[in-house]
């Protein structure tokens, strides 16, 4: 009897499991939902050529579905479809999340008419908007989004050019002393006295970085002093183009002091492009050769402190210069002199002493004046708005912000 009871029980369990499975399958949602469950379509769609660009882009905007954040509240996003005008086959060109009502289609061909539709979707099913008016993309001549940048840039460039030609006419200009550059002779002289080499590191970026160019320009001045004092320069680099440029620079410096025959290509050599491989190579050279003076001029990242601390540990006098704000504190902490940001770019003009180049530094001051005036007016307007609540101050503040905001 017990056996029969168990058998019946098992049979019932099996039947029940099978029933549940069937029920489960039956309850799987269909991919197509009834109309009343679908999100409502975007009620309005507008298309136009994306403004201020080089063509190939169409801006699609639409009104949010009534079920986006309201109604059935089941919109998960919008899928954007495109077809060539007259064609009935639409292809999906992109997706935007719920709450967003615009999309830039970057895959259009210029001068071909397209139509678009936007499907509001709940992730499973969706409803399409009406088909848009035809539109085509084309190139614009002027990027009007950058009009303020152009005006401010033109003002700064104009002032730099003005002061360059002003200086060319013989007007004497005052340029403050830059301690790090004044110390170059002292640093190279120390290496001469100690009979040890000078190490020059031009950063880890290539010649397309303006910081590397600035560093290489300073190298010219350093190399000339080294050639005069007849000591050894050691320059491991991480970029081949930098190696070639630096060799030319040092060769020129040796030739300019009449010691062209003492120049050797071995002064500058390639190590590796890899950041920490380069760090290992340079640190090894520092520890083995113990240079008396280390220059770090260019673009640096995490390796800045490793270089500077290793240099410090071997007792070298160190002069650094970079425009990487995050690395400046490390150099300031570990080096004897640091060229901070703009001083690195000013170095070549400063060292050359040419009036034309010094004039360009004076032109920079006009840019600083513009920045200072804008900051003071902006702070004044924002403060006054928070105190008085006058709309005028808010507009003034927003206008000043817009001058320095790219959109």
């Amino acid at each position: 009897m017990l056996r029969y009871s168990i058998a019946v029980l098992l049979a019932l369990i099996l039947i029940g499991t099978g029933f549940c499975q069937e029920t489960g399958e039956a309850s799987t949602p269909d991919t197509l939902q009834p109309e009343y469950l679908k999100p409502a379509p975007p009620p309005y769609i507008q298309v136009k050529d994306n403004p201020s660009d080089g063509g190939g882009k169409i801006l699609v905007t639409w009104d949010l579905s009534p079920d986006d954040g309201a109604g059935k509240n089941n919109v998960t996003g919008y899928e954007i479809f495109r077809a060539i005008e007259g064609d009935t086959v639409f292809i999906s060109v992109g997706f935007s999340t719920s709450g967003v009502n615009q999309y830039v289609d970057s895959g259009a061909d210029d001068h071909i008419s397209y139509v678009f539709k936007v499907v509001a979707t709940d992730g499973n099913d969706g409803s399409a908007s009406i088909i848009s008016q035809p539109v085509h993309s084309y190139q614009q001549w002027i990027n009007v989004n950058l009009k303020y940048l152009f005006l401010i840039g033109a003002l700064i460039c104009g002032s730099v050019i003005y002061f360059i030609y002003h200086a060319k006419r013989g007007k004497k200009l005052f340029i403050r002393k830059i301690a790090g550059l004044e110390a170059i002779d002292e640093a190279v002289g120390r290496a001469t006295e100690m009979g040890r080499p000078v190490l020059f590191i031009p950063g880890i970026r290539d010649m397309d970085d303006v910081q590397t160019i600035a560093g290489i320009t300073i190298l010219g001045r350093v190399a000339r002093t080294i050639a005069e004092y007849d000591i050894k320069i050691n320059m491991p680099v991480s970029k081949s183009i930098v190696m070639t440029t630096a060799r030319e620079m040092i060769k020129g410096a040796y030739a300019s002091v009449g010691r062209a025959d003492e120049y050797s290509d071995d002064m500058v050599y390639y190590t590796t492009d890899e950041q920490f491989g380069y760090v290992a190579a340079v640190d090894g050279i520092m520890v083995r050769d113990r240079p008396a003076t280390c220059f770090y001029m260019g673009s640096f990242f995490a390796e800045s402190l490793i270089f500077a601390e290793t240099g410090n540990s071997i007792g070298a006098i160190q002069i650094a210069g970079t425009a990487m704000p995050a690395q400046l504190p490390f150099f300031v902490a570990a080096c004897d002199y640091t060229l901070i940001g703009e001083e690195l770019f000013a170095a070549s003009a400063y060292l050359s002493g040419e009036p034309k180049q010094l004039g360009s530094l004076k032109g920079q001051d006009v840019g600083k004046l513009i920045a200072m005036v804008a900051i003071i007016l902006g702070v004044f307007a924002a403060t006054m708005y928070s105190i008085t609540g006058f709309g005028f101050f808010e507009s003034m503040h927003e206008f000043i912000r817009s001058l320095f905001t790219l959109n």
């Binding site: 002027i142 620079m249 995490a302 704000p325 770019f345 034309k356 180049q357 600083k368």
Partner: protein, 229 residues
């Protein structure tokens, strides 16, 4: 002529790159992108130059048995083994047609098991150097260094749970002096203002230097007799 042509090229490329920002229409927009591609192409060829130089310098040191020459053997061996493993895709499951970094290939094996740990080792040294550099920077030698020390101390405390426990008892009217709040204020207001000032200076410096190069006033980067008094 040797100097005139590079100057003309610099002036044209520099001007076109500036103009292409404001005029997206062809030919300016396209030229702006093309010039960047030109540099990448040149840089690819420069790899050969770099590799050749590496072999020459270290080969010379081995030949002359210069100081520490055994290191040069390791350098050349590492370079050649990695180059051959990558170029011939040794051990690549998909053969020579496969991805150079395919799992199971010798190149990936070298990269994952030798190169990456070595790189991480070098990076980890930074932690010790930060400590030694901070020690020197934060010594209260003068008024400025003392301010730096106090500020750094607040930031260090504010970024750890200790900062919260030290001042959590302060009434809400003195919330500003709660160390995590104070640390955030230092980072968001005085620190950010200082960083922005440096950024403005850098931007102006870049504009000025670029103009000097475009106008042909700055010639030091071409490797010549300029660049010094």
């Amino acid at each position: 002529m040797k100097r005139q042509i590079p100057l003309i090229i610099t002036a044209i490329v520099g001007t076109v790159l500036v103009v292409s920002v404001f005029i997206p229409h062809d030919p300016f927009g396209r030229l702006g992108e093309d010039f960047s591609v030109f540099f990448d192409i040149i840089a690819v060829f420069a790899f050969i130059l770099g590799g050749g130089n590496l072999i020459r310098v270290h080969g010379d040191r081995i030949y002359k048995k210069a100081k520490d020459w055994p290191f040069s053997i390791i350098t050349i061996a590492g370079f050649l083994v990695t180059l051959i493993a990558g170029a011939f895709k040794i051990g690549n499951p998909d053969g020579i047609q496969g991805d150079v970094a395919a799992p199971g290939s010798l190149f990936t094996l070298i990269y994952d098991n030798i190169f990456t740990p070595l790189q991480a080792t070098m990076f980890s040294i930074l932690a010790f150097f930060v400590a030694s550099a901070s020690y020197r920077a934060f010594r209260a030698k003068n008024k400025e260094a003392t301010i730096l020390l106090v500020t750094a101390f607040i930031i260090l405390l504010g970024r750890t749970p200790v900062g919260h426990y030290v001042t959590f008892w302060l009434p809400s009217s003195l919330d500003f002096f709660h160390i995590p709040v104070l640390a955030n204020w230092i980072m968001a207001i005085p620190n950010l203002a200082g960083q922005r000032a440096i950024m403005i200076g850098i931007s102006l410096g870049v504009i000025s230097m670029s103009l000097r190069m475009i106008l042909g006033i700055e010639r030091g980067y071409m490797g010549s007799d300029e660049g010094g008094k």
